[in-house]
């Protein structure tokens, strides 16, 4: 194959299919390839991480990693259509699940867009080889939606920056390697104009990673405390005080997650989507699949699976072709939360009383209660649905912006709590 000709889809499909069947494990019936964050012990989780790294390395060696990443950074330099073929061929097989978010999106595309050549050559191939798992140091304890109100500070000291503050809601930071970090470098200007993005290794002196216990017992979400963390200026991404330019694209790639050309998400054969399958698993475990009212709920879950898939496709095609602005990614994000939330409710309904009180024998039904307690995660993580609704109404439909009292004020003077108001 010459450097000029791109592999055609048909031969790519044949190559993918053959390699996958020979090298990857087929999922058991009912196994989705996903797992809920609460379901694994610490040892099992670490083993899972190690296995994901291995799978990613095998993909890299086979020439199937970074389908849409330029060849010079270790990718394949192919198209989104090729990525979709890979997704289709991967249906029913294991894949490097933990690498997809946030490593492959949004972190990697942010590096690709804003990183220096040196930064890209250092990290992109390492990511594609399964050597670096990335996290987003974005949200802070002081507020999640108001991302540009970050309080973590970075102060310049010669060729180094000194970072202090705290970041939170990093899924799996305890087993990850690197992070993108949004920090405040200028307090004398309005909030969007005083931010800078850095990259840093997570496990280093000055960073304490604390695992947060969620209401369902999961400890995957973490909080990091940064104390005098030293970051060389060569690990700065983008210009000083221009972090919001990076941040805007960062959040775009986050909202695009499921449709990102950099993310692998195996399609479930002809029956795409896991919503209905998960409801059936619960209904069967609870011995309620024969109930006509449950059948209707299974039908609703399936309908939502299909509609969600069709919408995600429409939005990503719309953005790619220029019929929709980048901001339209919020439409898919909002709808995905609505679908996930409704299917969680349906699953809980399908479990019947086993959702409240269960035994080991209840199988899939046993988990539905705790899953339902965590339902809102789909509407909070990755930017709340309220923020998505603001984006859709203001940026897509052009409605008036919400009043902000911090817009033209030096960030230092912005009230940040009840007590700071005078």
């Amino acid at each position: 194959m010459s450097a000029q000709t791109s592999e055609d889809l048909q031969s790519f499909r044949a190559r993918c299919g053959e390699w996958i069947r020979e090298n990857l494990r087929q999922l058991e019936p009912g196994e989705s390839g996903l797992h809920t964050v609460s379901s694994l012990s610490e040892e099992a989780e670490l083993a899972g991480v190690a296995h994901d790294r291995l799978v990613q390395r095998k993909l890299f060696d086979a020439g199937l990693a970074g389908i849409c990443v330029p060849k010079e950074y270790g990718g394949q330099g192919l198209t989104r259509a090729h990525q979709i073929v890979l997704n289709e061929e991967l249906g029913g097989y294991e894949y490097a699940m933990r690498f997809q978010a946030p490593t492959f999106a949004p972190c990697m595309p942010v590096l690709l867009e804003f990183g220096t050549e040196e930064q890209k050559h250092r990290h992109i191939p390492a990511i594609l080889k399964g050597e670096e798992l990335w996290m987003q140091f974005l949200s802070e304890p002081s507020g999640g939606s108001d991302v540009a109100g970050a309080l973590t500070s970075a102060v310049r000291d010669g060729d180094m920056w000194v970072l202090n503050g705290s970041k939170v809601w990093t899924t799996g930071a305890w087993w990850s390697d690197w992070a993108l970090c949004l920090a405040r470098t200028n307090w004398e200007v309005p909030k969007h104009r005083g931010l800078t993005v850095f990259m840093l290794p997570i496990h280093q002196e000055g960073i304490e990673v604390h695992r947060i216990e969620m209401l369902n017992g999961s400890k995957e979400f973490c909080q990091e405390f940064l104390t005098d963390v030293l970051v060389p200026d060569s690990d700065r991404i983008g210009e000083v005080d221009d972090g919001w330019t990076v941040g805007t694209r960062w959040m775009f790639h986050e909202r695009m997650l499921l449709n990102s050309p950099y993310v692998t998400s195996p399609l479930g054969g002809t029956h795409g989507g896991y919503g209905a399958a998960s409801v059936i698993a619960v209904a069967r475990a609870a011995n309620r699949a024969g109930d006509p009212s449950i059948r209707e709920l299974i039908g609703e879950a399936r309908m939502l699976d299909l509609v969600g898939e069709a919408l995600a496709h429409r939005v990503s095609e719309g953005i790619r072709s220029g019929h929709m602005s980048d901001q339209a990614a919020a439409i898919a994000r909002l709808f995905k939360a609505m679908v996930t939330s409704r299917i969680s409710t349906i699953r809980f309904e399908a479990a019947g009383a086993a959702g409240a009180a269960w035994s080991e024998d209840d199988g899939a039904a046993a988990a539905s209660g705790n899953e339902f307690l965590m339902r809102q995660v789909a509407s909070i993580g990755g930017g709340t649905t309220e923020m998505a609704r603001n984006v859709i109404s203001e940026r897509v439909l052009g409605m008036p912006r919400e009043q902000a009292l911090d817009r033209d004020v030096a960030f230092r003077d912005v009230p940040r709590s009840r007590t700071s108001r005078t």
Binding site: P29, T270, H271, A276, A277, I280, A289, P292, I294, R295, E296, L297, I298, G299, E300, R302, M303, L304, L306, V307, G308, A310, L311, H313, R314, V315, E317, G318, S321, H323, M324, A330, I331, L334, F335, M338, E386, A388, R389, N390, V391, I392, S393, E394, V396, L397, M399, P400, E402
Partner: protein, 379 residues
């Protein structure tokens, strides 16, 4: 509607859109409310000249498509109909034309030619009154006797039966299903008009009492029409869906405009976060409606194994969320949204009627659920 159309398709869509703008403005729709037929003959004939009735018909029968994909092309017409809540027997005529072209015999050729030319309209007698009103229930009897078919039973609601000269009737023959083309004036056929929420669509209950037609009237094989009927159901669904999405689009745009124009407490409605967030939800439902409608159209166009499921999922989703969307548009308009003078109800009527014709969202969800369970059992 699809985001990208070919040049030919876009030209075709615009031609229909302009024709409807000229000949089916809202005043005309209001006027037609008291019209017996609900549409004007000349309007329909001119629509037929534009291609409204030929898209599902084989070229050798005088039909033809714009893009080689007749279902996709027809979806564009249906969308433009929905955008304006336009009058005319679009769904019924196209289903019948499709059936006669794909399964009909020489005995049906002249009727088909009339349908194509807009000289006659078609109607499909499929749904039945309760308790046999779930999608797929067929109890009307169609017995072969000698060289005749004997028909007994009731169909309801039947669209435009009042002005159709021929009825495509779906009935039961033993354990199988049969379809036949029956003259509306055959002895034993009685047609009783019904009231409707839609201003320009007319519905009837049609009773068949010992109606006899020659066996040649059968469309397709006697007792073996299930596959044909499923295909017709899918076609009806995708047209109704495309139409409803068009109506959703119009209602939504009209309400966005209103939210910018209408001031309360010194500020536009569009500046209230409560209202903005509801528009965001509506926008998500609207784009989702477009997406699933188009996915179903593609599935039915290709005759894919998922076509039936996609068409049902689309109709269930658009039925539920389309009516919610337009009702929310009414809410945001306030009192004026429930007046006859305002145009919003034209679109509300269209999505409300389409929601329940040929199967309610609940009915369809149950069918989808059964299909998924059967599929899992088979795997």
């Amino acid at each position: 509607m699809r985001l990208e159309l070919s040049t030919d398709q876009e030209f075709f869509r615009q031609t229909t859109a302009r024709f409807l703008d000229d000949h089916a403005p809202v005043d005309e729709i209001r006027r037609l409310r008291h019209d017996r037929a609900g549409f004007d003959d000349r309007y329909w004939r001119r629509g037929a000249e534009l291609g409204w009735t030929s898209l599902l018909v084989r070229v050798e029968d005088g039909g033809g498509t714009i893009s080689g994909q007749g279902v996709v092309d027809l979806g564009l017409v249906a969308h433009e109909f929905g955008r304006r809540a336009a009058p005319g027997p679009l769904v019924a005529t196209n289903v019948v034309a499709f059936a006669l072209s794909s399964r009909g015999s020489a005995a049906h050729a002249s009727v088909l030619a009339d349908l194509l030319a807009g000289e006659q309209i078609g109607t499909w007698c499929y749904s039945e009154p309760p308790p046999n009103d779930r999608l797929g229930d067929v109890t009307l009897e169609m017995r072969p006797k000698g060289d005749e078919l004997v028909i007994d039973g009731v169909k309801r609601p039947v669209e435009f039966a009042g002005c159709a000269r021929q009825l495509l009737v779906t009935g039961r023959t033993g354990t199988g299903l049969t379809q036949a083309l029956v003259p509306a004036d055959a002895p034993g056929v009685s047609i009783a008009p019904l009231q409707s929420v839609d201003l320009t669509r007319r519905f009837s209950a049609v009773a068949f009492e010992d109606v006899r037609v020659p066996i040649e009237a059968a469309v397709g094989r006697v007792g073996d029409a299930e596959t044909d009927i499923e295909r017709q159901v899918q076609l009806a669904f995708v047209m109704l869906n495309a139409e409803s999405v068009g109506a959703m689009q119009s209602a939504f745009e009209m309400t966005v405009e209103w939210a910018f124009d209408r001031y309360s407490f010194g500020r536009p409605l569009a500046s209230y976060q409560e209202i903005k967030h509801r528009f965001a939800d509506m926008k998500a439902w609207l784009e989702a409606g477009h997406a699933i409608s188009d996915a179903a159209i593609s599935g039915v166009q290709d005759g894919s194994p998922e076509a039936g499921e996609l068409a049902r999922a689309a109709k269930a989703f658009i039925g539920d969320y389309g009516t919610e969307l337009v009702q929310d548009c009414v809410q945001i308009h306030g009192g004026i949204g429930v007046t006859f003078d305002h145009d919003l109800h034209l679109y509300l009527r269209r999505v409300v009627a389409n929601r329940v014709l040929y199967g309610t969202p609940s009915d369809l969800r149950q069918q989808i659920g059964r299909g998924v369970l059967d599929h899992e059992d088979a795997a």
